[in-house]
């Protein structure tokens, strides 16, 4: 393995020039609040030498000895021109100012990478900053990260009331969701009505739908990289919003003589306060809250430390019969260190946890479960010369999974204490990746990730006759649990099973001319943790399980090509991408599987494969009073699960069937209209082919009941999903000099009150005995109003 890296590094070093060169490095920050700027262009005028700032605002440029004009450019901000005489290595830090002349108009292109960056080899990536997200209409007056990314091509979800999101026909558990590098296991509050990310605390988000850089690993479908603000290091500010369902407050201030800063943000719903007033729900409580924290301290020019944290909770109490709470916790301690002009490093120690508890009073049962992990990672960026930048690093993640502990709630309970087997695993990764300007027109990004996953001992593993946890009963044509023939105990120091994978990543960009380019990429990814869910929607109860003796890691290969063009001096841009993705070892559940409280999940699953392909079109209008985008996706996502070792035909007779995330057509139109200094308007229009579902194809009488017999898996579809949302922002006093700034956000979700079916269920009417189809729609038209303020 080591040899591979060595060869790459040696190969790269051949490109290093012998000419006398010097390096400029530094940090780019926002003048107004001292936040580091991610993605600003730093380049030498009249040359092809340049770079963009990294996540921590750091840049490094190496060029032959000469005099240059250095330009710092970030759209929405004023360009900085600096004459430099490059005869020695130097450190130059910049603070860029928001461009006032553009301020009224620029909304969507407040950030360079939101336009089409035709030069970078990185493709299949979408970046949104909080300014853009905040302008989009959202349900119940809350701006929302997860809802915003669903407006992008290739991103969907299972409709209202379902958690998570689906990228390019992948499952929700195939997305790596990171909040300040910490893994977030459940992205939603209130079953998906709100995301767990408070936009007041977020600096930017980046979604990789493919072409995932080698520094990310562990999920096969996408990476959603969310970064929190560092906190204002210039002055104390207070941000907040008061809405009908929830309110938010965020405070930021400098620390240690502006050497550091902090941010603390909180958000809580208060619908539960009104519930006692409504008779139907008077005994119930339903609430959520979350807290974001970030602080940093700049020790000196070469060293900076950060501490960030998140804590969120959802709490339900239904007439004291059902009590349920769940949430994520995460913390990250980071240390940025600049070794020299060309070598930047970051060390992170990260903890994250997801846990839930459910108490069912009427059957006297108390259930708790959690997953947590410790993650140590070290990432380095080496700016070798003007042609090559190298990223490399290592990471190790220790997982502890407690899939369930069941306790009786009191002495009279018939429930016995049961603790499912605790599971432990260690996932490690080493990667190296280069961004290489091969010629003026051709740029490549190539890398390799080596990942290793050890399922650790400290538990019993059930063994089965003929090593078959699942057996096909060919007589009656069903899958049944295999017969157990013993248990093997693995010591904590032992590894139950170890997997190794090489994951090459390749991206190429060829610039056709000044305004258009083509890109191509290949990505191989592995995933070792799986979210067990045999329901159509992800629920908070779904259990994560690691690969091991019976569950193999998922492996995906994705191929994509794209065409990018800026039109009319970048006023418009168009992006076309097409992809083909295959995933091996995608597990699916046999008919009638029971996953709750099951120690031996292997008796319920079959290993299958998935494939997805599609075409994505994105047309943007970047400038002017009206900005926005039109996204269209045509796609297909299918799964095939054969019997394999268990024998038999498999699921759906071993034929390809639609995944629940298959959407043939997906159209999203987002428009933002800047009417005046006081008024902004925005609109979302969404249309999606209905979700694949399974409908009955006949009925028969059993025990006096009319029993539905269902057709093949996911053969039918719900009606198409569509809706229109509007919002208007009113700024009563837009005087920039005033310290207190307030705005009113009026929103209407689902304007024409479309009853989109979240599900259609088939039941026998209790009074008439006639079979009927019942549509459940979650949200009709919902008006909202929120007051946001800044101080």
């Amino acid at each position: 393995m080591k040899h591979v890296f060595l060869v790459i590094i040696l190969g790269l070093s051949q490109f290093i020039f012998s000419q006398e060169t010097h390096t400029i490095r530094g940090t780019v920050k926002d003048f107004s609040n001292g936040e580091t700027v991610f993605g600003a262009s730093v380049f030498l005028k009249g040359t092809t030498i340049g770079t963009t700032t990294n996540e921590y605002g750091f840049y490094s440029i190496t060029a032959p000895k000469d005099s240059y004009t250095l330009i710092i450019s970030y759209v929405g901000f004023e360009d900085i021109f600096k004459e430099i005489n490059l005869n020695t290595d130097q450190t130059l830090n910049f603070e860029i100012k928001e461009s006032e002349t553009l301020l009224d108009e620029v909304i969507i292109n407040a950030d360079e990478p939101e336009r089409v960056n035709i030069k970078k080899p990185q493709m299949s990536v979408s970046k949104l900053n909080s300014t853009t997200i905040k302008k989009m209409p959202a349900v119940l007056g809350e701006v929302d990260v997860i809802k915003s990314i669903q407006m992008l091509p290739g991103v969907t979800n299972s409709g209202e009331g379902s958690a998570g999101f689906n990228v390019r026909g992948g499952a929700a558990d195939q997305n790596l969701v990171l909040l300040d590098e910490a893994i977030i296991y459940n992205t939603s509050h209130f079953f998906g009505f709100f995301s767990v990310f408070n936009t007041d605390a977020i600096k930017d988000i980046k979604l990789y739908k493919g072409d995932i850089p080698a520094k990310f690993g562990g999920r096969v479908s996408s990476v959603l990289d969310i970064r929190q603000k560092d906190g204002n290091s210039k002055k104390f500010t207070l941000n907040g919003g008061i809405g009908l369902i929830s309110s938010r407050l965020a405070a930021e201030a400098p620390l240690f003589k502006k050497k550091g800063s902090f941010l603390i943000a909180g958000r809580t719903s208060y619908a539960h306060l009104f519930m006692p007033l409504i008779e139907a729900v008077e005994d119930s409580k339903l609430s959520f809250y979350d807290i974001n924290l970030k602080t940093n301290y700049e020790i000196n020019e070469n060293n900076r430390v950060y501490l960030s944290g998140y804590f969120g909770r959802d709490i339900f109490d239904i007439s004291s019969l059902i009590k349920n709470q769940y949430g994520n916790t995460s913390a990250n301690l980071r240390w940025n260190h600049v070794y020299n002009d060309k070598l930047f490093s970051n060390l992170s120690l990260i903890y994250s946890k997801y846990d839930y508890q459910i108490i069912l009073d009427f059957i006297q049962l108390d259930w708790v479960a959690d997953i947590n992990n410790y993650n140590l990672k070290y990432d380095l960026g080496y700016y070798i010369n003007e042609k090559i930048k190298l990223d490399f690093g290592v990471s190790g993640i220790l997982y502890n999974l407690n899939p369930g502990e069941i306790k009786p709630t009191d002495e009279t309970s018939p429930i016995n204490y049961l603790k499912l087997e605790q599971k432990r695993a260690f996932e490690s990764g080493v990667y190296v990746s280069a961004e290489h300007k091969i010629t003026d027109k051709l740029t490549a990004q190539y890398g390799l990730r080596y990942s290793r996953f050890s399922r650790l001992g400290g538990q019993y593993i059930t063994t089965y006759i003929d090593d078959q946890p699942l057996v096909y009963n060919s007589l009656i044509g069903i899958y049944e649990e295999g017969e157990e023939n013993g248990e093997t105990f693995y010591e904590k120091s032992e590894s139950i099973k170890t997997f190794n994978n090489l994951e090459p990543r390749l991206g190429l960009s060829y610039q056709l001319n000044d305004f258009s380019s083509v890109k191509a990429s290949y990505t191989r990814t592995s995933q070792y943790l799986h979210l067990l869910s045999n329901t159509a929607s992800v629920t908070p109860l779904d259990v994560w399980t690691p690969s091991g003796k019976y569950i193999k890691p998922q492996q995906a290969n994705q191929y994509a090509i794209g065409y990018y063009r800026n039109i009319n001096d970048s006023k418009y841009s168009i992006e076309l991408e097409t992809y083909y993705k295959t995933t091996d070892n995608r597990i699916d559940y046999v008919d009638g599987s029971d996953l709750i409280g099951n120690n031996n999940i292997e008796t319920e699953i079959l290993n299958g494969e998935a494939r997805a392909y599609g075409l994505e079109v994105m047309l943007r209008k970047n400038e002017g009073k009206l900005t926005g985008w039109l996204a269209y996706t045509w796609s297909k996502s299918e799964q095939k699960t054969t019997g394999g070792k268990a024998g038999g035909p498999g699921i759906n007779n071993g034929k390809w069937y639609n995944t629940p995330y298959d959407r043939t057509h997906d159209v999203s139109l987002t428009g933002i209209y800047n009417f005046s200094k006081k008024w902004d308007f925005s609109a979302n229009l969404v249309y999606q082919t209905g979700r694949p579902v399974t409908y009955p194809n006949s009925q028969y009488i059993y025990e006096d009941l009319s029993i539905a017999s269902y057709s093949g898996r996911n053969e039918s579809r719900l009606p198409a999903y569509h809706r229109l949302d509007l919002s208007a922002t009113y700024i009563p006093n837009s005087n920039i000099d005033k310290r207190w700034k307030g705005e009113w956000v009026f929103g209407i979700y689902n304007l024409y009150n479309r009853k989109n079916a979240a599900s259609i269920s088939f039941n026998q009417n209790e009074d008439t005995g006639v079979n009927e189809a019942t549509r459940t729609a979650i949200f009709g038209i919902i008006p909202s109003v929120t007051y946001n303020f800044k101080f």
């Binding site: 009331g161 079953f191 069912l360 018939p414 006949s698 189809a773 019942t774």
Partner: protein, 282 residues
């Protein structure tokens, strides 16, 4: 129990956010299948001599009119352990009856049905059930603390895995209320099962149990395979495709077609002992 956990999320979702309405949906239509309801039920303390097997065919899902009873089939049950054959008589109304059946615990029986020149068979074991200790009424039990509920109690044998099926019948109900249970989380304990009616129906009419109301409660001992089948059947019947129920699928019972395996039958051949009790609310 898992049904309750799944139900939780449906309840949460429905009670706070959603609206439901009955709509017209076009569904696919499958070819007709034979449906065998071969339930050999033996009430505790009786001879179990009288038994009935019902044959019918499946119909399109929304059909309400078609007469689908099956006449002219021949039905036979054999006790494998003793070799005794029991021939059922066609009553020409879809039922096939016998009056000299002899149930024996833990004996294995086979069912053979000849219909349309095809032979269907099934094999199952006769399962015993513990006696119902008592029934109790209360306000506190169940989902709603303001309405009466009734709970039955029985002792689960510790020595083996046990599977149950309970039936609550009440004259006001068009269909009995069915549930399955296992001792997975409560082996060797006194187990219980409750039944309660909603305070009122959708139209606001009172439906809760009142003193004087009488319910008939039965508890059946069943095999693990039948438990799996029936749990899934009831899960699909009561859940029917809500977002938190598992993806519904065609159910396979234990009746196979030996002439043409593709043309298997719906339904099940079960042999269960049951205990029954009539309870009048006070």
């Amino acid at each position: 129990m898992t049904n309750y956990i799944k139900l939780t999320f449906v309840l949460v979702l429905l009670s706070f956010t959603s609206c439901s309405d009955v709509i017209d949906v076009e569904v696919p239509t499958a070819t007709e299948r034979l449906n065998i309801e071969a339930s050999i039920d033996w009430q505790k303390g009786t001879t179990g001599n009288e038994q009935t097997i019902i044959l019918s065919t499946s119909t399109p899902y929304f059909d309400t009119t078609i007469d689908n009873t099956v006449v002219g089939a021949s039905v036979k049950v054999t006790n494998i352990d003793s070799g005794t054959e029991y021939i059922f008589t066609d009553q020409n109304n879809g039922t096939y009856t016998i009056s000299n059946f002899t149930p024996v615990f833990n004996n294995t029986f086979t069912l053979e049905v000849l219909y349309n020149n095809e032979v269907y068979t099934a094999t199952e074991t006769m399962i015993a059930v513990p006696a119902i200790n008592r029934a109790e009424q209360s306000l506190e039990g169940g989902f709603d603390d303001e309405v009466l509920d009734v709970t039955i109690y029985w002792d689960d044998p510790e020595a083996e895995e046990n599977f149950y099926f309970s039936k609550f019948d009440y004259q006001e109900l068009l269909f009995p209320n069915l549930d399955t249970g296992s001792d997975e989380f409560s082996n060797g304990n006194e187990m219980d099962e409750f039944f309660e009616r909603d305070k009122e129906d959708d139209d606001g009419n009172s439906t809760e149990f009142l003193p004087g109301d009488t319910v008939e409660i039965s508890l059946y001992g069943i095999s693990e395979r039948y438990y799996n089948y029936l749990s899934l059947l009831l899960d699909q019947y009561y859940g029917g495709g809500n977002p938190f129920s598992s993806i519904p699928a065609e159910l396979r019972g234990n009746c196979i077609n030996v002439t043409n395996s593709e043309n298997y039958a719906f339904g099940y051949f079960r042999l269960s002992e049951y205990d029954t009790l009539t309870y009048t609310f006070e």
